[in-house]
Symmetry: D2
Subunit: 303 residues, 4 copies
């Protein structure tokens, strides 16, 4: 039976469903001050970062996740010069932000220096040297505390943090209180982008619709969107929020992509924009019906 792979990486999507990949190498496995980290190589997805048992980013579909997280909001903005990133330790969000030629400075905050150091060392095809860019200020601190005292304002703020796991490092960064504070860190015309949990047909009601509702309670305009991530075995959700999000055509997106982004994108353009922002009927209906607002007194966790 030597032909059947003998080593497998398992990831539970729900307690009753898991995705399993042929595991070729355990590059690193350990516990930081804040979370469990594993860096593994799997045959279907290549080099992969796993935090607290959940895939964050794999070589095979990193481009889908990070082009989707970063570019729609950046392209919607008229002229993004200053960007704040919370999380995104493997450097891929940073990489896509820096591809925008308008960007003059990026402040990136990650709670967990050990994770960033391990990603620098072991995930070169993710960050691709972004950590060495002179426009970057990298700070290891809690984003909530930092933004509370921060005097700066930003054109774009990107929240790219792990899911709100009970006992995990991130759950306070999904609350109305946090979003209200973040709103005050945006310049006029500023845009917030938030990774917002699974948005698939089986699990959108876990946190995705509630994050939407919470952001709606703070911002005048919100745009939910989603993309299928093979390495997660899930459709992933995102939300763009701002006071005035402009309408934009597919053609205008294509020309902004061409004018503002160095290098070639693999995933995002005007047509892809239409795909990821056109949510299916049941999901639009569920967002419309949602009435849960996440606050410090009404926390929401994923299991």
């Amino acid at each position: 039976m030597a032909e059947t792979p003998t080593r497998w990486y398992y990831e539970y999507i729900t307690p009753d469903l898991f995705l399993s990949s042929h595991l070729s190498k355990i590059v690193f496995s350990g516990q930081t001050k804040y979370q469990q980290i594993e860096i593994i190589d799997t045959v279907p997805f290549g080099r992969t970062l796993v935090l607290d048992g959940r895939t964050q980013s794999s070589e095979a579909d990193d481009f889908i996740y990070h082009e989707t997280l970063v570019h729609p909001g950046m392209i919607l903005h008229k002229n993004p010069k200053s960007v704040f990133i919370a999380g995104g330790g493997e450097g891929s969000t940073l990489r896509e932000v820096l591809a925008h030629t308008s960007v003059e400075n990026v402040t990136m905050l990650d709670l967990d220096q050990e994770v960033v150091d391990l990603c620098k060392k072991y995930l070169p095809n993710h960050h691709r040297g972004s950590f060495g860019d002179s426009r970057l200020t990298l700070i290891f601190e809690d984003a909530y505390k930092y933004l509370f005292q921060d005097k700066n304002r930003y054109d774009v703020i990107i929240i790219d943090i792990p899911d709100p796991l009970e006992g995990g490092p991130a759950y306070l960064l999904y609350t109305q209180e946090f979003y209200a504070m973040v709103k005050n860190r945006l310049k006029p015309g500023g845009i917030l982008m938030v990774q917002s949990g699974s948005a698939g047909p089986l699990d959108y009601s876990e946190i995705f619709t509630a994050i939407n509702k919470t952001l709606q309670s703070v911002f005048r305009s919100t745009m939910p969107y989603h993309v299928y991530m093979p390495s997660f075995g899930l459709v992933w959700g995102f939300v763009i929020a701002g006071e005035t999000l402009p309408a934009i055509t597919m053609g205008e997106i294509d020309s902004r992509v061409q004018d503002r982004i160095s290098g070639n994108l693999q995933f995002y353009d005007g047509t892809t924009h239409s795909n990821i922002f056109s949510l299916p009927k049941y999901l639009r209906e569920a967002i419309a019906k949602e009435d849960r607002i996440i606050t410090k007194d009404n926390l929401l966790f994923v299991v």
Copy 2:
């Protein structure tokens, strides 16, 4: 350890990747004259039909697959009265076709009477009584042979058959020769819809792009589209083909859905149409570059 599920259904997506569901019941398992059939209940997906080891249709996301397969082409057609379905043994394609009030007659051909009989008995929430509709003529025969001798012409033809597995019953129905013959069975303004294999980022090149190219070599107009299917663990591809496929707005789609379809849809409407037909950049590029045409002398199989 009694809390961990002890019974699992495995489905290999590739030899190095599988999806596994908590299995609650094996309803039926057997071998027909043509293929292996399993009808199972899983916790995440409910009652599920599996042919030759591949999930065909599950209670949880049957609505996504079949609304996607049937409605875009039916709605694009001006006034579909006569419909031909090849395959679709579990009756869900039939169910969605019959929801169109314009439909006067449906001819459904399935090679495998045993599969249809088992589906009638064990999948009531799939077919929902469609097999009893007086507009239906149900025939158990090979679609290739039947269409070759058939004198009728149809407004819409739907090819909803298993993937081209070597040794399976379906591979000839993916060839240029078959599509050319099917074209002659369409009335003027007629539309062909074809399920076209996996269209995800890891595997679109297996058959999806080649089916597109093959249909392009026969029809003047083709429209590829795709949808994520949780129970397959895959993005699934489809193609609509015809001589003149009309342009149609999202608003026009919404009004045709309202006027022509009895009952409420869960998935499909104008916005969803925009989602499923807006392919991501890498996939549009791959379709453009594809040059394989499937013929009887150049067969293509999935593994």
Copy 3:
């Protein structure tokens, strides 16, 4: 990939180790008043009874377990006429006891009538009609309570109950208090046999050595023994206890087997006796060092 089995039954041996069998049928799955019951067919082990997530008895190696549990003690006894069985719901222990021609009456107690009824119906190759034997009195009651009030005494008492799971129905039947009471239900020369949990090199210290120590604290003579059970993925332990256990040669065992047991045994004879009672060095040393005595105030559970 249709050749790879798609349905599997998992059983965790420890949280970090599991055995998995190709599952062909789920015959029955449900919850009785006392425990979870599953009756399944697996390819390697055939029809199998599972209680609270643990295999109790499979068609493939039922003969090993039950010949081992029953015959050594029965053969050691001079002339066993009256036998009491606690547990053994699938009827295999009963079957082996009734094979002894000296036996005049058997009292079998099982807490869970639903389990016995399901075994009668679905496990014919286990009980083989034993429940119809006129020597049997079958009672559905708690063994602890019953024996406490019972005025009868027995030549042989067999405790064939599930492991002491916290919240399960059996844990009080592993205590010193219970064994002391059982001792009073034995006739002079009487023998007690107890299934005693896993006795393998990785897990003998879980309960096996403690059950030994507990029985040593009540009976003058104890004989631990063990056998490898493929369907458990474990070496299983047993203890025989009595006031005076006679020495017996392999030849004497062979002649008693021939004289007293109707039908042919597959597993047990004099040489097999020597195998199962000759514990490896590390296990004898561990039994000698054990000092835990299980009492109502010092309960022991398996996880």
Copy 4:
């Protein structure tokens, strides 16, 4: 779900049964000139050597396998001075042989220098420095070819090679022709020990009984024996062969162990000897009925 182990090592016992261990580290994985080698750490079994997809030796039960392979035959011999080992690349067989104070020289042959070098580096708790013993001559060559030309004779020859896999490096070393040649390499009173494949109730007929029969066709006296190996999920079989194997008592074994072996054994002594040589009834019957003799023209492979 972070609490459930996410990385597993699978090993198929049969195509329908597998054992799976929580995998903590992939220490090395590669392909030598002769075979696939993996050195892994698992939670239940510790550091483990796997060749061609089959566990050879794990930290947790290495003592069981190698005390069983080596000591019964060495102890049966009157005064073993010269020992030949074929295989045993991880050094554990060598380690147990060298514990015998009578041993003056050991010739160890392994086909695969890469395996030995990797074991030296990564399995220190297996070999425990044995490769540095001055009594050892280590040769990398095919055992068949070497023994054919060898002029030396040995007191004890130990064949500790992988199973006869088709296409593997070892299948010719299970033939009558090989055993006949090996017999001529034994000194008077010499003893051969052979690892002989799985001897469990489900699979003893695969090769174990046939190896017995083949050795019986060459040697006047053979003694089959067996032991349960948790890390294999199997009962493992062995055979001792010689022209005149002496009878020996359990007490005599204990005193020879004490006199001749330096250090303490964990597994083997007189009582354990009685355990491993007392085969269960069905297995003795199967050995008696076996009539397959393995020859170059009638090869036997495991699957």
